[in-house]
């Protein structure tokens, strides 16, 4: 597990905020908020917007370099996210979902991890080739993150207000210090926190798991990002709270027009929210399709296997689950040919010999399997 990424500046003394910086032009933040809402969340424009590509990743390869050897963590991954839509990333642990997400904004842990090839196109900019200084304008402002474990991502010695105002200070310069309190209350209300005035002054340990995750969501929504990357946002939460957080993410998508990249190992969670779904296995995307298409007719044997692993109503003592045999291979230890072939129930000779390319059996579906090569 990589260290949680700090998307705000800790070095900046908090005093500068309290003592008051020079006030920017007095813009009414509430008006601003309404403006955003109208601009991005309008129901009519949504349909139109969701056709435009916000992020396009082409042939991204991220490697871990060890003793001169390159071990691919993310291998030749291509996908896109449309504006105001949700892309779900599903796969088992160690498949490279999180590494893909971290590669997007250059947050890879350590010097040994690096992007070897590929292009990441965000809003017309190739962001893996720009300077770190310019990237900082995008990361944390245009692209924000929510991580799995909310309790480890919040600073335990600062109260919620201090942590949230750092984001405001960095990215919403039009909000003056006097307005901050009111603005933050509004933000906490937006993510459904009860009695926000009180909660602003509490510390992370005083909040429940669900509230912490809501604070994290509020923090990542403050700069009004165009893309929100939610990495297992509900895995650590109870079922009832998970349901609320999923509904909240859906609401935020509709109201603010943000696009969401949702990473989860739970197919049910992915199915609830996603417009497009990418299935990852051993560092590669093995299937990428429109959600309805993938859910109704999965083509890759791994995707089919995942669906069959889900316990359903019709399963009972006689009718057992069909588990995929074996385990996910470790990176650097991938089998030759198709990486899934040792576990695949439908394998044939060709699978062990050559890696299949991404075939397009339907216009909205890409599958990395020889069975779809015709």
């Amino acid at each position: 597990m990589p260290r949680p990424v700090i998307i705000y500046n800790y070095q900046k003394p908090m005093k500068s905020l309290i003592n008051g910086r020079r006030q920017a032009a007095p813009l009414q933040f509430l008006k601003l908020f309404e403006l955003y809402k109208n601009q991005r969340g309008n129901a009519q424009t949504r349909e139109h917007q969701s056709m435009e590509k916000l992020l396009e990743v082409k042939n991204l390869t991220t490697c871990f370099v060890q003793e001169g050897r390159e071990i691919p963590l993310v291998d030749d991954v291509s996908f896109f996210i449309n504006k105001n839509s949700v892309l779900g990333f599903v796969g088992e642990s160690g498949c490279g979902k999180t590494m893909t997400a971290l590669s997007l904004t250059g947050l890879l842990p350590g010097k040994n991890c690096k992007i070897v090839s590929g292009k990441i196109n965000f809003n017309g900019q190739t962001i893996n080739q720009i300077k770190e200084k310019d990237l900082k304008q995008i990361r944390g402002k245009e692209i924000t993150y929510i991580f799995q474990e909310p309790s480890t991502c919040l600073n335990p010695v600062l109260n919620i207000k201090e942590q949230l105002s750092e984001v405001v200070q960095l990215y919403c310069k039009e909000i003056s210090p006097e307005q901050i309190n009111q603005f933050l209350i509004k933000q906490l209300e937006l993510v459904g926190i009860r009695s926000p005035e009180e909660k602003l002054l509490s510390f992370p340990h005083q909040l429940s798991g669900g509230e912490k995750q809501r604070v994290m969501i509020a923090m990542s929504m403050i700069p009004r990002p165009a893309l929100l990357i939610a990495d297992e946002p509900t895995t650590a939460l109870d079922v009832t709270i998970q349901a609320q957080i999923l509904k909240l993410l859906d609401k935020l998508r509709q109201e603010t027009g943000v696009a969401i990249m949702l990473i989860s190992h739970d197919l049910n969670v992915i199915a609830e929210l996603s417009d497009y779904i990418a299935v990852m296995y051993a560092g590669q995307i093995v299937e990428f399709a429109k959600a309805e298409q993938l859910l109704s007719k999965p083509l890759h044997p791994y995707t089919q296997g995942l669906f069959e692993c889900l316990p359903k109503k019709e399963h009972n003592n006689q009718n057992k689950l069909k588990a995929i045999i074996g385990e996910v291979p470790k990176s650097g230890n991938f089998p030759t040919g198709c990486r899934f072939h040792p576990r695949c129930p439908q394998k044939f000779d060709k699978c062990a010999q050559a890696m299949p390319a991404l075939f397009k059996p339907n216009p909205d579906q890409e599958v990395r399997c020889w069975l779809c090569s015709d």
Partner: protein, 320 residues
């Protein structure tokens, strides 16, 4: 096989001279349960509702404040450690996190052999028994000399199961045993548990929060909320006809492939921050229930059988 009669576990708050009356937190509150031999009881509820405390009470790792535990028609509540030792072989547990529940410095062989040694198994019998156990849980016997860090999550959980099976138990408590596993390994382990149950006539107490998994493995399900059992029924009854408002909320909160959760526009009530209140009167779900009546605040509804095998603790199940 196992019967719990009004088991409670209270924890004292404010243990000081100053406060005259010390408050009590009811971690587990008069729980009555029954597990029949060879069956599986699923226990569901949110984190902090007392599921694991109950498991520990059954194992006698902590002693209950009141109530009785019957195991094979014998009361074990007040047995001393020495007297209970014989029975301890019959009740075993598999823990949630396969990473922290196996000692990193012991080989797989030693991990599985430990309960055998503890119960004075003859030395020359241990090695073949470990081999047999490894084969039973679907691991290659060559794994015996490996260390836990060389195994994957699913393999570790299998070692945990093999260790629990070492003493030929009759009741196996599975405390979130598949929660931390990946989807494909989870399915493998679930199938393994079913096979083992059929082979050795095991009885399971299956604690989990994933309702789909519980439906798959259980014969009966008990729903727990704030230390109390609010509903208990057979799988069919509970999933097709849930009666307690909390059970309904739980079932409605499950995300599904058919997008039931987001299509369902009704707001899921906020159950956050409902920590255990000391000495509360009335129904434990009163504050969150949207159909609550005055009597719900004053009296605790008892767990009553409303139809054969369906137990419920709610005053007005029909109206809800």
């Amino acid at each position: 096989m196992l019967r719990l009669n009004k088991i409670s576990k209270y924890y004292q708050l404010n243990k000081s001279f100053i406060s005259a009356i010390s408050k009590k937190i009811k971690a587990v509150d008069s729980v009555c349960l029954e597990i029949k031999s060879g069956q599986t009881l699923g226990l569901v509820g949110e984190s902090g509702c007392g599921k694991s405390t109950l498991a520990r009470i059954i194992l006698k790792l902590i002693s209950p404040s009141s109530g009785q535990i019957f195991f094979q028609n014998q009361e074990i509540t007040d047995l001393t450690e020495k007297q209970f030792r014989v029975l301890r072989q019959k009740i075993q547990i598999v823990f949630q996190d396969p990473y922290s529940s196996l000692s990193p410095r012991l080989t797989v062989k030693n991990i599985i052999a430990e309960p055998l040694q503890a119960f004075k198994q003859k030395k020359k019998l241990i090695e073949p028994r470990v081999r047999e156990l490894l084969l039973n849980v679907g691991l290659n016997p060559e794994y015996a000399d490996r260390l836990p860090h060389q195994l994957s999550g699913g393999e570790r959980q299998r070692v945990g199961i093999a260790r629990a099976l070492a003493t030929n138990p009759e009741l196996l408590i599975l405390d979130e045993a598949v929660s931390s596993l990946d989807l494909s390994t989870q399915a493998q382990v679930l199938n393994l548990l079913k096979d083992l149950q059929a082979k050795y006539k095991l009885t399971y107490l299956f604690i989990a929060h994933n309702l789909d998994v519980v439906r798959y493995i259980s014969d009966h399900v008990a729903v727990m909320y704030k230390g109390r059992i609010v509903e208990q029924a057979s799988v069919k009854q509970l999933y097709e006809n849930p009666l307690h408002p909390y059970t309904r909320i739980l079932l409605n909160s499950m995300p599904s492939l058919e997008k039931k959760l987001l299509l369902n526009k009704t707001q899921t009530p906020n159950l956050e921050n409902q920590s255990l209140q000391p000495d509360n009167q009335g129904c434990c779900f009163y504050a969150q229930c949207n159909k609550a009546k005055a009597e719900c605040a004053e009296q605790i509804p008892e767990l009553k059988q409303i139809e054969s095998g369906h137990w419920l603790s709610c005053f007005k199940p029909k109206e809800v």
